[in-house]
Subunit: 242 residues, 3 copies
C-alpha cells in the first residue's frame, strides 16, 4: 500500500499537505483495513468506480494494487468488458488503454485472458423469465431494440461469462450505479447482488468505501435506495429474533 | 467502419478479446446497420454522447467517421457550439482540441465553417412565447439572469443558427440529456425534437444506440420519461386505428 | 481576462468562430462582470465546477485567474482538499496534478500552504448535534461507517479547517452539487451556505454562472430545489413588507 498515490507523495504535499495526510492515514491506513470488505473486494469496487467515472489518474495504481491483492488478469479483463455495457463503451476503452501498459510490463499475454466466446455458466431460466417479463412490460413498447439487446447480450451472455463470479459481477455493477448516481437502477441490481451472496454488512461497507472514491454526495444519495431494498427483503437468518 | 476502435484492434484484444469481438460484431457489424437511424444520425448521436460526457478517447474515430458519413465540417462545428450550452463550456473546448487536429489534416479551413454571427432562421414567435412564459413562471423568481440568458442566447440565437437543422439540433440536445441522466430536462426537449420531425421509431432506436455509448443504466433511466412523453402526445397518423 | 481560452483564440476559431465569439463577448465580456458575485467568488465557483466534473482542459487558465483575482494559494489548496470529499478522491488528485505545475512556475512553496493538521475553528455544537441526529436516524442503520466518517472527518474536522472561510467552503460544496446534478444533497448544503452568509442574490447569480460551466440542464434542474429552500427559510429583512 506504499504507492497509493498516482504520483510521488511529495508532489501531493506540494499542493495539499492535508490531502497527502488524509490519503495516507485514512485511506491507506484505515479504510482499506476495515473489516466487511476484503482488499480484493475493495479493489473491485475502487476500479469499478474509477472506470464508471472515467477517471484515469488513479487507474495505474489501482490496477497494480488489484493484481497484487489477488485479482487475476482475467478478472480485470472481465470487469472492463462488463462496464462497457454498464458505464459506456468509452469508459471501457479508456481503461483498456491504461491496463494494456500494465499487462505489457508484467508479461501478461493472451493465454491469461478470457476467450472471446467461452462456454457460458448455466442460466437460471425462472429468474431470467421474471426479469424479461418485467422489462418487456415497462420498456418493450418504448424500445424493442433495447429490450432485445438486454436479453441477448446482457442476461443470456455477458452475465454468464465464467471469467468473473456472478457475485463479483454484481459488485461491479452496483458500485458503478452508486458512483454515477443512477438511483433508479440500483434496486434491481442490489437485490440481484444480495441474491448472489453480497451481505448487508458488505453493502453497508460498500457505501463507506464509495464515499471516498465517488464523493460523499453519491454515497448519501444511495442510502434511501439501499434502505428500501433492505426493508423489502426477507430478514437474513442471523437477524431474525430468536 | 474498419477503424472503429480508438487504437488498433490487436491492442484491445490484448486486454479483452471479448470487448474486441463485441465491438466488431455488435457495434460495427450490427448496431450501425440497424434501420430507423441513418449512419449520419448515429454519428450525431454518438458524438453528442461523447462530448456531453467529455470522453475524448473515441472522438478522433467518430469525428472522422462523421465526416465520412455525410456530416459537413460546419455541422460538426455547430454540434460543439450547441453542446457548450447544453453540456458545459469545457466539454465543448475539449472537443475543439480534438477536432482542430482533424480539420488540419483534412485541410478544412474557415471558409467551410459557420460565421460567428450569421443570418438567423425565423423565430416561431408563438412557441417561443409559450416557452418563455413557462420558464419565467418557474425560474424567473429564482434566477432572472438564467432566464434572461436562456431567452436571449439560447432560444432567440443559438437555436436559430442556420448551420445545423433544428431537427438535428434537437437530436444533439436529447442525446446529451439522456447520456447525462438529466431526466427532468428530457420532456421539453423530446417534445421539441418530435415537433421538429424526430419520429417515435427514431426515438426508440436512439435509446438502443445510447445504451452502448452511455451505458445501459442511462438508457433504461430514460425509458419511463420517454414513455410519459409518448403518452401525452397525439398519436401519429400511422398509429391511429382505421 | 485576455487568456480566457485554454489555447490561443485563433485555434478555437479554427473549429468554431461562434464559440470563440460567445466566449469573448459573453463569458469574458459579460458574465464575469455582472454584479452579485465578485470575480473572486466566480473563481471559486468555476474551479469547483471544473474539479467536481474532472474537466482539466480549462483548469490551468482558471487556477491562474483565481490567483490573479485574489484567491490565496492556501485557499486553492483547501478547495481541492474539500472536493476530495465532496466530489471524489480522483477529482482532487487530477486537480493537484495541474495546480502543482502552476505553483512551481510561481515559486509557491510549502510555507504558503495550509498545514496538514492546523488548529481548527470552533464547532457550533448545537448545529452539529442537530445534523448528526438527523443523519444517524436516516443513514445510521444502513451504513454506520459512513455516518461515523461523516462526523469525524467532515463536520468536526474538514469543515473546521481555517484555510478557507466556512462561507467559501459552502460555495464550493453547493457549486459541486449543482454541477453534478446531485439534487437530493442540495437543500442541506444550500441552507448551510445561507446560514454561512450566502445571500439570495448570490444564489440566483450562482445558477446563472454555473449554466455556462456545467451546462444549462444542470442549472435548470437545480431551480426547483433552490425554490424549495428559499420558500422554507424565513424571509431576509430586506424582503419583508414594511
Amino acid at each position: 500500500m506504499k504507492e497509493l498515490l498516482p504520483f510521488p507523495g511529495q508532489e501531493v504535499r506540494g499542493v495539499s499537505p492535508a490531502l497527502e495526510k488524509y490519503t495516507l492515514d485514512l485511506i491507506a491506513g484505515n479504510l482499506w483495513k476495515r473489516p466487511d470488505l476484503s482488499p480484493r473486494d475493495r479493489s473491485i469496487v475502487t476500479l469499478s468506480v474509477l472506470i464508471a467515472r472515467n477517471q484515469t489518474i488513479e487507474m495505474p495504481h489501482y490496477f497494480n494494487l488489484a493484481l497484487d491483492s489477488g485479482l487475476k488478469p482475467a478478472e480485470l479483463s472481465e470487469i472492463i468488458t462488463h462496464l462497457a455495457f454498464y458505464a459506456g463503451w468509452s469508459n471501457a476503452l479508456s481503461a483498456v488503454a491504461i491496463l494494456k501498459g500494465i499487462f505489457a510490463r508484467r508479461d501478461i499475454g493472451l493465454d491469461q485472458l478470457p476467450q472471446a466466446c467461452p462456454d457460458l455458466l448455466p442460466l437460471d431460466q425462472a429468474a431470467e423469465e421474471r426479469r424479461a417479463t418485467a422489462v418487456q412490460e415497462s420498456a418493450g413498447p418504448i424500445s424493442p431494440g433495447l429490450v432485445q439487446f438486454t436479453r441477448e447480450l446482457l442476461f443470456t451472455n455477458l452475465w454468464l461469462r465464467p471469467g468473473l463470479a456472478p457475485r463479483d459481477r454484481s459488485l461491479v455493477t452496483v458500485s458503478a450505479l452508486i458512483a454515477n448516481g443512477q438511483a433508479a437502477q440500483i434496486p434491481f441490481h442490489l437485490n440481484k447482488a444480495m441474491d448472489n451472496g453480497l451481505t448487508r454488512a458488505q453493502v453497508s461497507e460498500l457505501l463507506t468505501h464509495i464515499a471516498f472514491y465517488a464523493g460523499w454526495p453519491n454515497a448519501f444519495s444511495a442510502v434511501p435506495v439501499v434502505k428500501g431494498v433492505f426493508e423489502n427483503r426477507p430478514k437474513p437468518p442471523s437477524e431474525k429474533p430468536k
